[in-house]
């Protein structure tokens, strides 16, 4: 039995949570919202037609792995990463790290996390857990969605780390390798905020950032024509709620986390002006949650006529307008304060 001393904590999101948890256990005192904000985790992209998706979909955060990379660039913290083409090698390295008392984050397919009730599990290849120990039949896992350390069967972890399909984990592992004695939080926070604003406002691609929210608003009224039947449309509209609220932490949740980041940043770098932006972002998060709930209600009740799709479209346009104004103001403010 190997068990690395590890303080487990729940988190809002698996990737920012596992990064934060590893850093905390390595001695760096930092919160999850601070990791999320510095690494410009907040984002939006709408995909109407993509080969990898059978139906339009969207994301509300930057791509998996980007948080860790951005955090590294802005703070000087370095992570050691590993990918594998052979499971045997992937497990040899994992066991060696645990033998060396190093807790390690692993990218996994969420479906195989058998300590989570079956009705909550879906196939998503970008869930992150921290492995902190093992015995003959199971690994000891810190999962930010679970209140305590849990046991995961060796076979389940094998399937989870080497699942196939879109964004397959390929046994990916990471752990902190270097933490600087001093981190320039002033610069890191400002860069994190500026880049978030840039990503939401300035990328000249029509499906990214605010433009992506607007595209979603325009295209959602076309969804009925893309669906096979009412059941299929209902499933896809219900999935809006799943993507916004259930998987990771969703549209509202990420926005609440960004609001908390601004609140903490205001104190950390003595910029009380950010407090007002924090409060406004909380309200924006509430708006996403209302949209999510409306989509879920319509989907659940199979109430999906043109008028209902138009209502969803209008709410999305409101979100785009609110976020456009917000990020323009924040972009301007962060340059001046």
């Amino acid at each position: 039995m190997i068990s690395v001393p590890y303080k487990h904590k729940m988190a809002a999101h698996c990737e920012s949570g596992s990064i934060t948890s590893l850093l905390n256990n390595a001695g760096l005192d930092i919160t999850e919202p601070m990791v999320f904000g510095i690494s410009s985790g907040l984002f939006f992209a709408y995909f109407h037609k993509m080969r990898s998706f059978t139906f339009p979909t969207f994301i509300v955060r930057n791509k998996p792995g980007q948080m860790r990379e951005n955090f590294t660039k802005r703070t000087g913290v370095k992570f050691k990463t590993y990918s594998f083409s052979h499971p045997e090698k992937g497990f040899l390295v994992l066991d060696h790290l645990l033998d060396s008392n190093i807790p390690v984050a692993a990218q996994v397919d969420f479906y195989y996390m058998d300590y989570i009730p079956s009705w909550e599990r879906v196939h998503i290849n970008v869930h992150f857990i921290v492995v902190v120990g093992k015995d003959d039949s199971a690994y000891l896992v810190s999962d930010s969605y679970f209140p305590e350390l849990v046991s995961l069967r060796v076979e389940s972890l094998r399937k989870a780390r080497f699942a196939g399909g879109n964004m397959s984990p390929k046994g990916f592992l990471f752990h902190p390798e270097f933490i600087p004695e001093e981190i320039d939080y002033e610069t890191a926070i400002r860069k994190g905020i500026r880049k978030t604003c840039f990503n939401m406002l300035k990328i000249p691609i029509p499906f990214l950032g605010i433009k992506g929210i607007r595209m979603f608003a325009k295209k959602i009224v076309e969804w009925p024509a893309l669906a096979r039947d009412t059941e299929h449309l209902s499933h896809e509209v219900m999935k809006i709620n799943v993507l916004l609220e259930d998987q990771g932490t969703g549209g509202a949740g990420f926005r609440f986390m960004f609001a908390t980041f601004l609140q903490q940043a205001a104190a950390k770098i003595n910029t009380p002006q950010l407090l007002d932006f924090s409060k406004k972002m909380m309200v924006i998060g509430d708006g996403w949650r209302e949209f999510s709930l409306l989509a879920a209600r319509f989907g659940k009740n199979r109430d999906l006529g043109p008028q209902r799709m138009k209502e969803l479209s209008d709410l999305l346009m409101d979100r785009a307008k609110a976020e456009e104004q917000y990020f323009n103001e924040l972009y301007k403010a962060i340059k001046e304060i």
């Binding site: 009730p117 969605y145 609220e245 709930l293």
Partner: protein, 98 residues
């Protein structure tokens, strides 16, 4: 540790859930306060849409935001856990009442 939530609050939460979800065929006393609200086993049979409805009802009624799904899963386990969460948040907002 928080104090054990009072029975009035638990009753209030049951009524809030029933009114929010328009549940008329279950009596408040039939809802077991310690048994999970989701996944069967309790008098209520709730799903993830209901969970979101409850999250927003808690925000409207108690001005308390449940900001992410990890927190939501943990908080919405049972009537007892919701009551405990509300009590804790109230104390955090108004520490003079501790």
């Amino acid at each position: 540790m928080t104090d054990i939530p009072n029975n009035e609050l638990k009753k209030e939460i049951k009524m809030l859930i029933m009114n929010t979800l328009n549940i008329t065929d279950v009596k408040p006393e039939d809802i077991d306060e310690g048994i999970p609200l989701f996944g069967g086993g309790n008098a209520l049979t709730l799903d993830s849409v209901d969970a979101l409805e409850i999250i927003m009802a808690i925000q409207r009624n108690y001005q308390i935001r449940i900001t992410d799904q990890s927190q939501a899963r943990y908080t919405l386990r049972s009537i007892n856990s919701i009551a405990e969460f509300i009590e804790t948040e109230r104390k955090n907002q108004h520490p003079e009442n501790i």
